[in-house]
Chain length 264, copies 2
Amino acid sequence: MSARILPRLTFAFAVALACGLAHAKVVTKSIAYEQGGTKLEGYLVYDDAKSGPRPGVLVIHEWWGLNDYVKNRTKQLAEMGYVAFAADMYGDHKVTRDPKQAQEWSSAIENGGLMASRSKAGLDVLKQQAQTDKSKLAAIGFCFGGSTVLQLAYSGEPLAATVTFHGGLMPPKEDQLSQIKTPILILHGAEDGFIKPETIDQVRTSLDKAKVDWYMVTYANAVHAFSNPDADSFKIPGIGYNEKAARRSWAEMQDFFKEKFAGK
Amino acid sequence: MSARILPRLTFAFAVALACGLAHAKVVTKSIAYEQGGTKLEGYLVYDDAKSGPRPGVLVIHEWWGLNDYVKNRTKQLAEMGYVAFAADMYGDHKVTRDPKQAQEWSSAIENGGLMASRSKAGLDVLKQQAQTDKSKLAAIGFCFGGSTVLQLAYSGEPLAATVTFHGGLMPPKEDQLSQIKTPILILHGAEDGFIKPETIDQVRTSLDKAKVDWYMVTYANAVHAFSNPDADSFKIPGIGYNEKAARRSWAEMQDFFKEKFAGK
């Protein structure tokens, strides 16, 4: 028997044993909460077979509302070992496939100055969970959700990591610069027509002024909503799925989390 | 004994056994070769305790020449399990710390149209090694080396992956567009004053036209040579080390290799 086979057999046996005895047991829960008088219902997911507190990730949905896409992403985070909470930015189980309706609901939040406060209410729910290690919190968002987590970051929330997936980008306000306390990862489609190059420059300049630890990844060919396998089904010009960008951006977030949750 | 301890003990034992029996044994070799009548000497590194062919990585040095920085990076690649070859772009053991000398040597190569052919000679050496899986080849470069691997890519070399670390960027020529056969990862310092924003736009437009699989990472605060811990010692404005960018870019390359060497 070669010198290499014995450790491999032993390892294989150990893995088989471990798998047999310790399955992941992902549980999902609806959590009712409120913000500013609006009743909300978010979606909590964690691995119940895992013991002890673990990093928490707040997940903010696209403008369509708290739909299956964001629920699936939340489940994926739980499978990675995090406790994840998909916050509800709208209330009343509002979910749509109609872009006019989505535009109305998301604009009400954005123009109403509610992005930071409503997402923070979701963060508070996450913090209250027994599974959550409150010293290791991150926020991610997709599209409208990406803009939302930026606003949460600009409001001064001291997160370990903030990640925007093809979010609408905007710079912080001048009086917010000194209060930004979170590293920011911007994942951006090179062909995202919803964001002007000048806006990107403004964001970069402001984040530099605020001394934020940021970096940005630009994916060739990717447009708005590139991370969502369902994006093409909406048949909206400039909105579409990009498999490479989706895969790479999700991996990028994982690398960022590993770095930030380890305190680097 | 809890259900979790037995698999952990077995795993730990297996790991201990495996480590005791299979140390990495990184070997380095100088390899003499030539290109266009110029004698060259490159630096080959691989793990001799590993059996069988493995992906090969060509490494192109900064304008300083084949110095310790690039040798260390080449060793790191070997420790990851690749066979890595630091090519010699100058010959005569030319290494310097004098930017005027470095400028002279690198310009002679760039203006002499030798970037692609001289780096290709290094790639040929890599291909000749018994350790090299010729179906899995990548090229990486730093600064001048980054420009060089772009030229190698533009010349039509069918690499699995091409990675430029704070390389001088330039778009391919019109008549090269149809021949580019490699995915390209551009790792760029947000404050790299040696590269104009317009040039980046030209590169993006041309790579899109050529249907190249590319993406770009932009690191806040990082300037030219950000990956080199020795960069500050040269005391040249606009050239300096950035620990976060160095760490993240090296990890990004590893992710790209994992993807591309797996054929995704």
